[in-house]
Amino acid sequence: MVTTTTAPVRAEPSTPGAGRKKKPRLPRSKLPYLLLLPAIALELLVHVIPMVVGVWMSLLELTQFQIRNWSAAPFAGLDNYRATLDINGPVGEELLHSFWVTVLYTTFSVGLSWLFGLFAGVFLQRPFPGRSLLRTLFLTPYALPVYAAVITWTFIYQRDTGLLNELLTTTGLADDRPFWLIGGNSFWALLVVSVWRSWPFAFLCIMAGLQNVPTEMYEAAAIDGAGFWRRLKDVTLPMLRPVNQVLILVLFLWTFNDFNTPFVLFGGSAPEQADLISIHIYRSSFITWNFGQGSAMSVALLLFLLLVTAAYLLVTNRRREHA
């Protein structure tokens, strides 16, 4: 988090130079607000106001019949929320299923991405021939535009023309060509793409964090007879704690809200086994044109993410104080 202690800039009594005109200065206290104004105005237009409108829309009965004149849509009160959270009703039941799929997906994806990033970071600490080449290669998936990368995976997963089934049939691991983008396999197909895309970011952050670990600490641990795992546990992980705190949170939020990966991989409607919540809401809003319902789902999702984030920050900060 950005917490710096800056001394307020003191107004230096400037010596009036001979013949130099002094421009009137803005009062010190007003300047930062002026500097922040464009950023705040744009955030308001694109993030804050639409959010407020979104919350209001979730209280309306807003379907394709009212969208032309949406400000006159009938007020629905909490009906959309009732439908969203009623796990026995058709809407709530499907949403709950999609929620659990997303929880599972996020848990696996964040866990694996973090592990891969950690091991790549640790193993690339020592200089060896080809180290910078590997570092560059590992970052490439993160730099690729998401649609270009994911469309390549779509090709890999094609039943008849894809690399994966070719590999499985020639090695004899599978005798028929399984489907990867429909049915139960689709969840794992999606997860692999997700990890492939996110672990480089974890690697990047962990690499940045490892640069702050003084070599002396490892040497001291080695003198104490600590092996690889002990050094990892007693030196590396404690030193990475601040990085990990932010990294895991950001990975969690990105993955939970991930829309691009499933959207490009499956198109507008994902198979039910890989029906991530963002895709589910998109479909509920656009395919069935029930915008009020879609907004209520989005607000419920946002509240859930807020709660998790608040709880997470409380727990990790407390740990930090005890450490």
């Binding site: 988090m1 950005v2 917490t3 800056t6 800039v9 230096e12 130079g17 803005l26 010190r28 300047l31 930062p32 922040l36 950023a39 744009l42 955030e43 237009l45 694109v46 639409p50 959010m51 979104g54 829309m57 949406w70 790549a120 570092r135 560059t136 590992f138 490439t140 998936p141 730099a143 690729l144 535009p145 998401v146 649609y147 270009a148 469309i151 995976w153 090709f155 890999i156 023309t161 690399l163 070719e166 492939w196 952050c205 964090g209 640069q211 080695a222 950001v250 990105w254 809200n257 829309f259 691009n260 959207f263 490009v264 963002s278 809401i281 915008f291 879609g294 907004s295 989005s298 999702l301």
Partner: protein, 279 residues
């Protein structure tokens, strides 16, 4: 500190596996782009039978790729430049001043990462449509609307990174400039920015990448004239046939500029993350 044999071998195994994992799709992209159409319609082959650049030629006429590319370039570069300009002022304020609401601002900047895009996609769509009807400013399905949308997507993280870079510039330099009679703006432009050039360039590339790769808003907020690569690339799949070799060729072409830019500046990204994350 010596590396034990066991460590050396586990390092080799882990790094080899990660390399294979990373490189497979990249290999598929490059090799398939060099295949004739016949090769991508049958079972997958590792080596193109007769390598040709035909796909790189045909891809421009199968879909209006040139227009998509132009739209993407225009939207992404304008969004990146405006975003960074705004972020520079904001980061300067956060880095160099104390003011009421400073903490709140920093927290808000990071919390925007939390919003599901889908939550404000629809309201934004309605706001743009209504603004257009009321004022005549066409934001919906226009490149202007996309630019405004995208520049705010990269703004929070850009500000955060730039605060990190600016904080690492010693305040003594500011004070020296002030003694010479420079106001805050001159201090920013003549002292801080020249020192932070690599960081500013890295953040610009990040902002460009954000706009270049965005899919959700691009698929709702564009029409035939303003369509970007993110949506246009899906046009190679027709009802009867997917021109996989052309898809891969186009993917390769649209990836090269951002990948090259990112990899050239990776050092500064690491530096920026280090500066931002340790605090």
């Amino acid at each position: 500190m010596r590396e034990t044999t066991a460590e050396r071998w586990s390092r080799r195994v882990v790094l080899t596996l990660l390399t294979l994992f990373t490189i497979t799709p990249l290999y598929v992209m490059v090799s398939s782009a060099l295949k004739p159409l016949r090769d991508v319609q049958g079972p997958f082959t590792w080596i193109p039978s007769r390598p040709s650049f035909q796909a790189f030629i045909d891809m421009w006429s199968t879909v209006p790729l040139g227009r998509y590319l132009l739209n993407s370039l225009l939207v992404s570069s304008v969004a990146a430049l405006i975003s960074v300009a705004i972020a520079i002022f904001a980061a300067f304020a956060v880095s160099r001043y104390r003011f009421r609401g400073r903490q709140i601002f920093s927290v808000t900047v990071l919390s925007t990462q939390m919003f599901p895009g889908i939550l404000f996609l629809l309201p934004l769509f309605l706001i743009y449509v209504n603004l257009g009807n009321a004022t005549g400013i066409e934001l919906y399905a226009s490149r202007t609307g996309l630019i405004i949308t995208y520049l705010t997507f990269s703004l929070p993280f850009s500000i955060w990174m730039l605060v990190g870079y600016f904080d690492s510039i010693p305040r003594g330099l500011d004070e020296a400039a002030q003694v010479d009679g420079a106001g805050p703006m001159r201090t920013l432009f003549q002292v801080i920015l020249p020192t932070a050039v690599p960081g500013v360039v890295a953040v610009t590339v990040y902002a460009f990448m954000t706009a270049w790769g965005e899919v959700l808003f691009a698929s709702v907020m564009t029409d035939e004239n303003s369509r970007t690569l993110a949506v246009g690339l899906q046009g190679y799949a027709t009802q009867y046939n997917v021109y996989w070799n052309q898809v891969m060729a186009a993917s390769l072409v649209v990836s090269i500029p951002v990948v090259a830019g990112f990899l050239m500046l990776q050092r500064y990204f690491v530096a920026g993350l280090t500066a931002g994350a340790v605090k």
